[in-house]
């Protein structure tokens, strides 16, 4: 692993760490969106009392940025969890099982894979009561085939390795051999990469829909997406109320993607 990759791993790791910390801490910070409004400090520039300034309703931007992580943090984890856990198991079955079990799993995966993600998420939002949890659940399910495909290739490649055969001959249960020796020891880098990707995707969809307004987080509840949406009514000489959350979105998504990729690459190098 080259020097740039290592620096990238540390930088993106720092971003991931900060976002995770904020996501964990945010729910415990008391915040009442309605009380935060104060029309005597509208659009203040960053200062000591308001580190990132205030928006057009006089609300502290730093505070809304921190509370905004609540909108995507747990949903993002949930989606990543669904996609990686279910995807890995489905991929393992598709790669190892035979007969009708395999046929059913492969068919279901192919069916899921044909659905266009963003369109399908919006479609579900129009049918059901839209919420970020619902969006994340659907996103997680839609990523199952992607995860399953990479895991399946790995399981198929390793399934005929001598040491897998040797473990079976020594009396280890094949389910254990696959779950531990293949999925856990060999596939964790793949799973880290995919989990980071799905998390980034949920952040992207949540902020995107919150920006558009109909299906995401609604004002006055904070989301990085609806914070950016203020750009529509802001005067041009006060860019920070939208610039700060926009930068946060870009940094977080690229940070997660880079971290997933670089950590996985590092893991794969260690495995080989």
């Amino acid at each position: 692993m080259g020097r740039f990759s290592r620096i990238g791993l540390w930088l993106s790791g720092a971003i991931v760490l900060v976002v995770v910390l904020l996501g964990v801490v945010a729910p415990f910070i008391p915040y009442e969106p309605a009380d935060a409004v104060s029309y005597d400090r509208v659009l203040e520039v960053p200062s000591v009392s308001h580190v990132l300034g205030t928006d057009e309703q006089g609300r502290d931007i730093a505070m809304r940025l921190v509370k905004g992580t609540e909108a995507f943090f747990l949903p993002g984890l949930m989606a990543a969890g669904i996609a990686v856990l279910v995807g890995a198991l489905a991929g393992a079955v598709a790669g190892y099982a035979t007969g009708p079990v395999r046929a059913v799993i492969v068919g279901a995966l192919q069916l899921l894979d044909t659905l266009p993600r963003l369109v399908f998420i919006i479609l579900v939002c129009t049918i059901r009561n839209p919420s970020v949890t619902l969006i994340a659940f659907v996103a997680g399910v839609l990523f199952i085939p992607t995860v399953a495909a990479v895991i399946r290739r790995k399981v198929e490649a390793l399934g005929s390795e001598d040491y897998i055969l040797a473990h079976i001959a020594h009396g280890f249960h094949s389910v254990w051999v696959i779950l531990y020796h293949i999925l856990w020891l060999q596939c964790w880098p793949i799973m880290v990469r995919q989990a980071a990707y799905v998390f980034g995707y949920v952040l992207f969809v949540e902020t995107g829909l919150s920006y558009l307004g109909d299906y995401g987080v609604q004002e006055p509840d904070p989301s990085w997406g609806n914070m950016v949406a203020q750009v529509r009514s802001l005067p041009p000489d006060a860019p920070w109320p939208w610039l700060v959350p926009a930068a946060a979105i870009v940094l977080t998504i690229s940070g997660f993607l880079a971290f997933g990729n670089l950590a996985a690459r590092r893991g794969e190098e260690a495995i080989r």
Partner: protein, 301 residues
């Protein structure tokens, strides 16, 4: 000669076929042999003679399709006879024309039912390519511990580790503690094979199947491994099938030897007779003996 006791393993008329791009090919054609309790059966033959597949069939681990399509495999454990391939007729069907068909699902179920309880506990294998037979991402110790724990689930952590270190010492690995903490790629091929033997024997199987365990090792190391097998078997009265293309190794270990070629057994002979050059030899066996600079004796025409 006294009456032979009932063998612990009896294979009769074993047939293995594979589908290839050039149609169905029969790779093992009516092979029969038996292994006596506590004795070593040597299987000699070149690559492609079907010797490895015959032993994988005993393990129920023949890869590819359709695999085992005929024969009987009987196992006698504590005077209880177990027919491993008893259900084969329900799995394999013979259509009026064309090759026999095999129901993969039923076969898998048969393997799960008959063989799964035997793997490790009753029979297990040491394969060629010791390094590839070990999980590259686990230390030798972790794998040996797994094996010990599977054999004796009631042991505590420290006892398991102690048992593992004992096994490493018994397969004559110096510095057992260092090997215990090493990965396969950090050890030599010979050391990996010793570790592999320890892992297999830690399961305490009645029958050990060694499939060309010395292939790819240095000549001196090969001799050591063969001697190790002899020592470990003599101490435990374990039965073994020793597969090799090296006639000297087989002569050293086995009491009875079968010689295979093109999927058939060409000769069954006692190691004593082979060593002494007694009796008439099949021409192929004679070639093998001559190639190893051993007395050939009389050759059957």
């Amino acid at each position: 000669m006294t009456a032979t006791p009932e063998p612990m393993l009896q294979v009769s008329d074993l047939v293995i076929e594979f589908d290839t791009s050039a149609g169905r090919r029969r790779v093992v054609d009516g092979v029969s042999f038996s292994v006596q309790q506590g004795e070593v059966l040597g299987i000699l033959g070149e690559s492609g003679s079907g010797k490895t597949l015959s032993t994988l069939a005993v393990l129920g681990l023949v890869p590819g399709r359709p695999g085992v399509v005929g024969g009987r495999i009987d196992l006698v454990l504590d005077d209880r006879r177990e027919a491993l391939l008893a259900d084969l007729p329900t799995v394999v069907s013979t259509p009026n024309r064309g090759p026999v068909r095999k129901d993969d699902r039923r076969w898998n179920r048969l393997v799960q039912r008959r063989w799964r309880p035997l793997w490790g506990r009753v029979m297990t294998a040491v394969f060629q390519n010791p390094r590839q037979s070990l999980d590259p991402l686990m230390t030798i110790g972790a794998q040996l511990d797994e094996s010990v724990r599977l054999a004796e689930p009631t042991l505590g952590r420290l006892e398991v580790r102690g048992r593992s270190l004992d096994w490493l010492a018994r397969v004559k690995l110096h510095e057992p503690a260092r090997v215990h903490a090493s990965y396969a790629h950090e050890l030599s091929g010979g050391m990996c094979q010793r570790a592999m033997i320890a892992i297999a024997l830690a399961r305490q199987p009645r029958l050990l199947i060694a499939d060309e365990p010395t292939t790819g090792l240095d000549t001196t190391v090969r001799q050591e491994i063969v001697e190790l097998f002899q020592e470990l078997l003599a101490a435990e009265r374990r039965a073994m099938m020793y597969i090799s293309h090296d006639i000297r190794e087989v002569l050293f270990l086995a009491r009875e030897i079968i010689v295979m070629r093109h999927g058939r057994i060409v000769e069954v002979v006692a190691a004593e007779d082979l060593k002494a050059g007694r009796g008439r030899r099949h021409p192929y066996t004679a070639t093998l003996l001559a190639a190893a600079d051993l007395p050939v004796g009389e050759v059957a025409s």
